[in-house]
Every structure is written in structure tokens, then in C-alpha cells.
Symmetry: C2
Subunit: 233 residues, 2 copies
């Protein structure tokens, strides 16, 4: 199954006029730089559950997330899966292709998601010509690394209640709408717990009115109360 089949092609990107350009990779480029982009940059739209790429694939492209939410999944020797990171708008997926590695994770959309597919060659070419891109690239590496550390210290440490509370806080931060997820299984895979424990703890939070779930997998959170739980227990 080719990953591209999951994605609907939306058109060629006009980076120059991109609405979220300063969020993403090409924010600092100036007019002459754009002339260096010779390979088309596709805009893709992913339905929830669609696979962007699969671990082990030799990837020719990296992706900037324009809208939505993407999970990076890693499979353990015993078959179970663990969600290693979440990518939100502005983040970049597949940076590892820049060092010649195959994709290290499987990337799956959790919501309606829009991405730009940037061929590796484009980044490499720009990288040689303009130093402006370097800063952005390093910021993205740093972003990813910082998030990895957070997941280890905050989402893989402490009791189930603490982890779940921190997860909701993370997902809610810098956003006003509800937190949208994709099921109990994924919640467990993010905080390193079994599905049943995740379900139980979510139910408990609902009873305690820390969260509401007006429609399936859409959560409204009481941030202050969750903050208490995240620390205390």
C-alpha cells in the first residue's frame, strides 16, 4: 500500500504567497531565493487516519505541517506501538531524510491535516545557496528534540493520572478550541499505558469534571484543575 494513496493532491504550492509561511521552513527566504526552487512542492490534504509515510521507507521528501495534527509512531519488537511525538502546524516531519536516513517513524494524520511535500533536493539546494534556511532547519531539529525530552519526562513519568493530565495540558496549550484525539488506544500509546488504563482514567477525569467529551474524541478541558493533577497526583 503506497502512502501517497492516502493523500489527496491539492495543487502546487505557491510558497511566495503562503499564508503560514513565517510559521514554517521558508519564512526567511527572500525573492531571489525562490528562483532556486525548481522542483514542484505539492500541497497534500490528509484524512484522519491517513498515512503520510512509513518507517523504513527511503524518503525523498520532508513535510511541513500546515494544519491539523500528525502522530509519529514507532513499533516495538513485540509488536506494540508507541507514539513518540505529535506534529502540529509549523513542525516538520521527516527531517531524517536530510542526513540520508530512511524515515524513522510512521507518520499518521490524527485529524484533517494539510502538509507541503518538499523534495529533499530542494532543501539541499537552498541549503547550499542561502544561510537563511539553516537557522530555520536547526530550529526545527531543536523543536523536535525538545519535544522528545518533554515526552520522556512529562508523559512517561509519574502516575497514570499525572500523565493524562499533562497530555491534555500539552495538547490544549496555545489553542482555544477543544482537544481532538483519535481514540483511547492512541491516548495509551502516547503516555505509555495500556488502553484499558487510559480509558479508565479518562472516565475518572470526566466524573471529576476535569474534562468533558461532548462528542467522541473531542475534549474540553479545565486547565487549572488539570494543572493540579499534573503535579500532585
Amino acid at each position: 500500500m503506497n502512502a501517497a494513496w492516502d493523500a489527496a493532491w491539492q495543487g502546487f504550492a505557491e510558497c511566495r504567497r503562503c499564508a503560514v509561511r513565517d510559521l514554517v521552513l521558508f519564512g526567511d527566504l527572500c525573492e531571489p531565493d525562490f528562483a532556486l526552487i525548481h522542483t514542484p512542492i505539492d500541497e497534500l490534504k490528509l484524512a484522519p487516519g491517513a498515512t503520510l509515510y512509513t518507517a523504513g521507507e527511503e524518503g525523498g521528501s520532508l513535510f511541513t505541517i500546515r494544519a491539523g495534527l500528525v502522530k509519529l509512531v514507532q513499533f516495538l519488537p513485540d509488536g506494540t506501538q508507541r507514539i513518540v511525538r505529535l506534529l502540529r502546524p509549523g513542525a516538520v516531519a521527516g527531517l531524517e531524510v536530510l542526513v540520508g536516513r530512511p524515515y524513522g517513524h510512521t507518520a499518521v494524520a490524527l485529524q484533517e491535516t494539510e502538509v507541503c511535500r518538499i523534495p529533499r533536493t530542494v532543501v539541499e539546494r537552498l541549503s547550499k545557496e542561502t544561510p537563511r534556511l539553516h537557522a530555520r532547519l536547526m530550529e526545527r531539529w531543536d523543536q523536535a528534540l525538545q519535544q522528545a525530552d518533554v515526552w520522556l519526562t512529562e508523559l512517561s513519568t509519574g502516575s497514570a493520572r499525572q500523565r493524562l493530565a499533562r497530555l491534555f495540558l500539552k495538547l490544549a496549550e496555545g489553542r482555544d478550541g477543544p482537544v481532538v484525539l483519535s481514540g483511547r488506544e492512541d491516548i495509551g500509546a502516547m503516555i505509555g499505558l495500556g488502553m484499558e488504563t487510559a480509558s479508565r482514567t479518562v472516565a475518572e477525569f470526566k466524573r471529576a469534571r476535569l474534562i468533558r467529551e461532548p462528542s467522541p474524541n473531542r475534549f474540553e478541558c479545565d486547565l487549572d484543575a488539570l494543572g493540579e493533577v499534573a503535579l500532585g497526583g
Copy 2:
């Protein structure tokens, strides 16, 4: 307490003649590039337990590890600490200074360790002039990120026995001598377990002859047997 006090100054580095140059950051530089290094690069020697830098410090330098072993520690809100990564020869510590962030961790030597202190300005200057350094830098970002993922999936998942087995395997890989560590507390902090559980599990491994500890904190490992435990339970 200044972190520099923990370190003994060894001299100015002669990068051109560095014995491990191709391991580290400047492996691809050619003769004219070295002329661009105007700020001295110090060589430091750290005793076990010495602090290289502290989380939150505004760091002016990054460090390449020439020999030894360094832990990156992050402190949790409740005061406990978690070891997020280990740096072995060839790795780079403090990459975050390149994006203008203060150090994100506290870096502490676990063994006798040698490092080179490279001022941020040197890297930035070289970065502007030669693209050869970029590839190396990205490799190091990638290395760190990959290790972060491994720690999450292999050292923070599964039973205490599995985690400990995987830890020893990780530390033993690509090396022939014994695995040298710094105490049970640290073992626990690496695999996300309490000190008592770490101690108990180490004792159990010794009884089962999976490991031997001929002198304190030096471990000889039966890799095959540990491999079994890492998977099965």
C-alpha cells in the same frame, strides 16, 4: 558554583591534528577552513561527577565529547531527576545554544571524560562560510533525536527487567570492555524506575549470572542472555 570549576583545563586544541577529528564535528573541514577559527578551542578534562554545564545557563559554547561518558539530566517539577540521554565519544552536547536557547539539561560526567569546548561564534562563523559543517551538524541533531526516541521506546517501556536488560545492551554495544556506571540511583533515573527497584533488579541479574560486578559499578554482561530478557520478560 561555577561549572567551569569542575573542569581541568588541558590546553588549546589543535583541531588540525586532532586524533579523533573524523569522529567529531570538524571532520570534513579542509585547510582554509581552519583559518576561520579565531577563537581558541579549549580542551577540558572532567573527573567523574563533574558538571559540564547546568540547565538554564546561557551557554556560549557547545562541547564535543572526545572520551568518556556524559549524562544529560533534566529535573522534574517534583524535584526528582531523569536522565534523558547519554553522550559518548563523537557526540555533541549543548547544540541548543546554536538556536539561542539556554542549556536544556544539566550535563555531568559519569567517567573520566575529555571534551572540547567550541564557542558558539566559531560554529556560526564556519557555518556561514562552508557548507561542509552543515552536514555534520545535522548528523549530530539527528543522532540526538534518534537516541531520544530509543530511550522512550526501549528504556521507558516494558517491565523493569526488560528495561535494565536493554540498558546494559545499549551501553555494551560497540564496545568490548566492561560497562561502567555511577551508581544505582543513576540506573534508576535512566530507565524510569526507583532506586530500590533498580538495585533489586541488578541483584536478580547477578544471581541469574546475566551480569557480573567484579568491582563496584563495573559490569560484565552476558549479551546473548540479556537479549533474551530484553524481549521476553
